[in-house]
């Protein structure tokens, strides 16, 4: 039965800390064999959701199933099948890097070769270094190695590339791609748009504990001719700026205020629209600092979605 179940099924999950609602009626599915990104700003509820999947927290309302199993009630059955990379340490301060990885490997029935894995992750040179002396990036990579060494079916990685240099990030992305190709499901949280866009088959965007959009990167960034014009000005916009611009541009075009000096125009980004935008600037007496044309990126999607949220 559980073999037909999706990798992860979250249904109506609600999690509160005191008065604060961390996760609010969240429902999402992760298909097997995919890299699925849970994308959202800090404090959006990503880690809480992930930790509920990992069995650390009991759902206060709603349900969570991983490989068809209840992560709390069927913990002993589930844990050997998943790999977890936590945000931040998770190792004794005096333990040597390889010693830690070998220890986790020994807890599994059919672990990967720890040395080979360490080499693959560029940890070969710091094998005898105590954990507390590893750099942030090395600690991250060791965390990833610990998550993978038991040959899991699903690996949950919380902000895998936070604090890594660009080279390590690319290596990690490549590696996660390989892992997926071997049939492992990867669930990752990130607040890096480019990471989600480059890596994920499926993206769930979360804000304030709610799911605000789901789809593949292409689906999410598609929007007809939807290109964007990003306008940044030197001084804050006058009051009522987005409305007056909306009026000037017409119905087909969306205007989203990003902050007090920048806004996003989404719609057919043709010469006419561009002319209207600069005309509006002249009319309002604002000086454009930059006016950028571009395809819609995940970043634009996200800002639009949360932008709307901020000004109902």
């Amino acid at each position: 039965m559980s073999d037909a179940a999706p990798a992860v099924a979250v249904d109506g999950l609600v999690m509160r800390y005191g008065d604060k609602v961390a996760v609010d009626e969240l429902s999402l599915t992760v298909d097997r064999g995919t890299i699925t990104a849970v994308l959202g700003p800090n404090g959006a509820g990503k880690t809480t959701t992930l930790e509920t999947c990992e069995g650390y927290r009991r759902p206060q309302r709603g349900s969570v199933r991983v490989l068809g199993l209840d992560p709390v009630a069927q913990r002993t059955e589930l844990l050997p099948r998943i790999g977890v990379m936590l945000q931040g340490s998770g190792a004794w301060s005096g333990v040597r890097a390889m010693e830690m990885l070998r220890h986790v490997a020994r807890l599994h029935a059919h672990p990967m070769d720890a040395d080979g894995l360490a080499d693959r992750l560029g940890l070969g040179e710091c094998g005898r270094t105590p954990y507390r002396r590893l750099s942030g990036g090395q600690q991250q990579r060791l965390g990833l190695a610990m998550a993978l060494v038991g040959r899991p079916e699903i690996v949950f990685v919380d902000e895998p590339t936070a604090g890594m240099d660009p080279q390590s990030r690319r290596t990690t992305w490549e590696l996660l791609g390989e892992v997926r190709a071997a049939g492992v499901t990867v669930v990752l949280t990130t607040h890096y748009m480019d990471e989600a866009e480059r890596l994920a088959d499926q993206i769930h965007i979360i804000d304030h504990g709610r799911l605000i959009a789901s789809g593949s990167p292409v689906q999410l960034t598609r929007g007809g001719t939807a290109a964007t014009i990003r306008l940044v000005v030197s001084r804050p916009f006058p009051p009522g700026a987005p409305d007056s611009l909306r009026l000037a541009l017409g119905d087909l075009i969306e205007v989203t205020l990003l902050d007090e000096v920048s806004l996003l125009v989404t719609g057919p980004a043709d010469a006419t629209t561009l002319a209207k935008v600069s005309g509006w600037c002249e009319e309002q007496g604002v000086l454009p600092e930059s006016l950028t044309l571009g395809q819609r990126t995940l970043e634009d999607v996200f800002l639009e979605l949360t932008g709307r949220e901020l000004q109902p």
């Binding site: 998770g90 190792a91 020994r106 059919h110 990967m112 040959r151």
Partner: protein
């Protein structure tokens, strides 16, 4: 296609999940934790160096101060110093190590590994037993070198083993109670303070009778009970039922309280 695991850097990631057998996990955990304990300078000081200093110091001091002891100083003090060693490992070292494991997220990390909580606890007990065995060997060797003449026979062996076992259970439960309730630094301070107080005033090394009218109170402390049981076993060669039951009582109370209050993270 490339062959899995070959040297060209291509690694075989094909899922093959599963936990190791429980005993193998416990053995791995016990060996890991005991190695970390022995690697740590302060813990080694606590485990071996301080007990040996106390032993030598107490025997030397007893010759001068003329304590009212029921036998030769080395014979009375060695069981007490062994009790002190058990206390230092199962209480102080365990509490400090566990406190920092919580702080550094080690317990959380292992919580998502195949190692169940029962395995984690069993691993900790295994590590304590390994370190205590080492302590007993070192301290006994020093004591024998100083002319220690312990009681032998079935009563001595059984009484000594039960005392170490129940003493470890009682102090480990109390150590975990401390580590589960306080922050790591507070645990560090409290565990060392309690150790010092019990070493001085808890009838571990000195028999309860040496405390005058307090003797009747301190022998009910886990430290006094452990020290008493060790002395009964290794001085007189007998099992000490009251002291052992006292330790069992502390172990049960400590375990119940720990089970209620301990937070893994």
């Amino acid at each position: 296609m490339t062959t899995p695991g070959t040297s060209d850097g291509v690694t075989d990631w094909t899922p093959r999940p599963g936990g190791a057998p429980w005993l193998r996990q416990v053995a791995a955990q016990a060996s890991m934790e005991s190695r970390l304990m022995l690697r740590n300078g302060e813990q080694l000081l606590l485990a071996v160096v301080i007990p040996v200093i106390v032993l030598v110091g107490a025997v030397q001091g007893a010759d001068r101060v003329d304590l009212d002891l029921s036998g030769r100083a080395i014979d009375v003090f060695t069981p007490g110093v062994l009790a002190l060693a058990v206390m230092s490992t199962s209480f102080t070292s365990l509490a400090i190590a566990t406190g920092f494991e919580r702080r550094y997220g080690v317990i959380k990390r292992l919580g998502s590994s195949p190692l169940p909580r029962s395995g984690l606890l069993a691993g900790k007990v295994g590590a304590l037993v390994l370190v205590e065995a080492l302590q007993v060997v070192v301290i006994s060797a020093v004591a024998l070198g100083m002319g220690w003449d312990p009681a032998t026979g079935g009563g001595a062996l059984l009484g000594g083993l039960l005392a170490v076992l129940l003493g470890t259970a009682a102090f480990a439960a109390l150590g975990l109670l401390l580590a589960g309730a306080l922050r790591a630094e507070a645990t560090l301070a409290a565990a060392n303070l309690v150790y010092l107080l019990l070493m001085a005033g808890g009838a571990v090394v000195l028999p309860a009778s040496a405390y005058g009218s307090f003797g009747g109170v301190v022998e009910w402390l886990p430290s006094g009970a452990l020290g008493g049981a060790m002395r009964d076993a290794l001085v007189d060669g007998v099992v000490a039922p009251v002291a052992l039951l006292t330790l069992l009582g502390w172990a049960v109370v400590g375990t119940v309280l720990t089970a209620r209050t301990f937070k893994w993270e």
